[in-house]
């Protein structure tokens, strides 16, 4: 059995374990042991500001995805089967569209001469086109769009397992719909909330294409620090250290979350 699994394992070891190990080594070794690369992350403002910005954006995206995703998952769960299939299909559809295609779509919608600005000017709502893209706003909108399915699917899966009888029981004991929702449904859906939020937050931490294309160079997320240090400045040690800190953050989050819910639940989607 080990012989059967070893070719796949070899590919993973050679193309993800070895490269990441290499990064870790390169971040602390340059003509001898050094912590210079890590010192830079703490002391130079461009580095820690970028980390702070990335965490802020990820948090914002996660909260927005939760606010938008929860009602959709709830409704998909509360309607007859035919409707819920339709709702889920609409959620999953963009999931299978290339991230690049969706970045292009948002550029087409949000830019100065884009669909939304033209429409608003046609309606005479605005005189000057709004700056909707090449900034943090555009990045957040497109990122929420891309990550929303990762929130809805685990929420829906969890809600499906909540027995409808419990809400009836609550109602028969005198709880109004709102009260029953807050006391019964919401707490029981929390594992799904945790799974969805973890996935969205972690994926957002490492986002590259969207901030690069829609951020307009001002929204420098951590992933862009990594790529710029490699491509523009040839600062391999610095890039490696940033990558290692990013990876450790992700692993730490997974580790903490795994204390509360099974990781299979988080990774179950996509």
């Amino acid at each position: 059995m080990l012989a059967l699994v070893s070719p796949a394992l070899l590919v993973i070891l050679a193309l993800i374990v070895l490269p990441v190990g290499w990064l870790a080594w390169q971040s602390i070794y340059h003509d001898g042991f050094t912590l210079e690369n890590y010192r830079r992350i703490v002391t130079e403002s461009i580095y820690w500001r970028s980390f702070a910005l990335t965490f802020e954006i990820s948090l914002l995206v996660t909260v927005l995805a939760l606010l938008l995703g929860y009602p959709v998952a709830y409704l998909a769960n509360a309607v007859p089967r035919g409707w819920s299939v339709l709702i889920l299909a609409l959620v999953v559809l963009p999931f299978w569209t290339s991230v690049l295609v969706r970045a292009y779509a948002w550029l087409a919608l949000l830019q100065r001469t884009g669909v939304i600005n033209q429409f608003l000017r046609y309606l005479d709502v605005i005189g000057e086109p709004l700056a909707l893209v090449h900034n943090t706003f555009g990045t957040v909108v497109a990122t929420v769009h891309i990550l929303l399915p990762f929130m809805v699917l685990p929420l829906y899966a969890t809600m499906q397992k909540i027995p409808g009888d419990l809400m009836h029981a609550g109602a028969s004991l005198g709880a109004g719909p709102a009260h029953a929702f807050v006391r019964i449904f919401l707490p029981l859906s929390l594992p799904g909330v945790l799974a969805g939020c973890t996935m969205v937050f972690v994926l957002c931490l490492g986002f590259y294409i969207t901030p690069e294309l829609l951020g307009g160079g001002r929204t420098v997320m951590v992933s862009m620090l990594v790529s710029r240090n490699v491509e523009l400045y040839n600062q391999f040690g610095a890039a490696s250290a940033v990558a290692v800190v990013l990876l450790l953050s992700v692993l730490l989050i997974f580790f903490v979350v795994s204390r509360f819910i099974s990781l299979d639940r988080v990774l179950g989607q996509k």
């Binding site: 609409l90 559809l93 569209t97 690049l100 292009y104 490699v230």
Partner: protein, 261 residues
Amino acid sequence: MRTISPGRIALIAVCALVLVFLILPVLIIAPISFSSARFLTFPPPSLSLRWYQQYFSNPAWMQATRVTLTVAFFTVAIATPLGVAAAYAISQSKLRIMRLIHMTLLLPLVVPIIITAVGIFFVYVRVGLVATMPGLVLANVMLGLPYVVISVLAGLQSFDPTQEMVARSLGMNRLRSFFAVTLPQIKSSVVAGGIFAFISAMDETIIALFISGGQYQPLTKRMFTALRDEIDPTIAAISTLMTAASFMLVLVASARQPKKA
């Protein structure tokens, strides 16, 4: 019998808006791609196929398309058997280390792709795989493996391994019993896994940005560069084709995927 309360109407309205938010950007691409305008205008002044012509007559775009399709084809051809073998071993073996191996095979889903990309770049520089076809294929095999493993493991869950033991007790060897008894029953999850690996290879951009070059640049890398420089409606045409292709593949895959995957 349920009365429609104001709360429910509000809920439905909010959901409708969210669904429009999800779907509209994907749908907006097609009208742009059929527009005759040089710049993005909406609604399009008149219909035309010029951006599709632009795409199909441009040697650079065509070369990139060939690279993408070749990479995706070889990715599936390699990742599927490796993933099936691994999933089979994981489901059959009782070794404790298998759980660790299983987790390891899912690492490509956990490690942020930008980190994987830079790491692979450093390794490829050392072994001379930058800007080569094998290098691209190998990286995509790594990314595609988890999809095959997850899909096939789901398929194997509803398969009763005693059937294979029966076949072996009747004189088939392990290999033959697998192909004669097991594989036909998990075929649809194998196909689904392969299709997901194909789509993942078609979409992969970030690793390609670092390790591809010269004549071996996939479509996504050229699209990314084009999007960074100027927004050319040719990309709308390419995007429409890509979206149509992956929707068709997903339809095939989900029709074949076992329930509850």
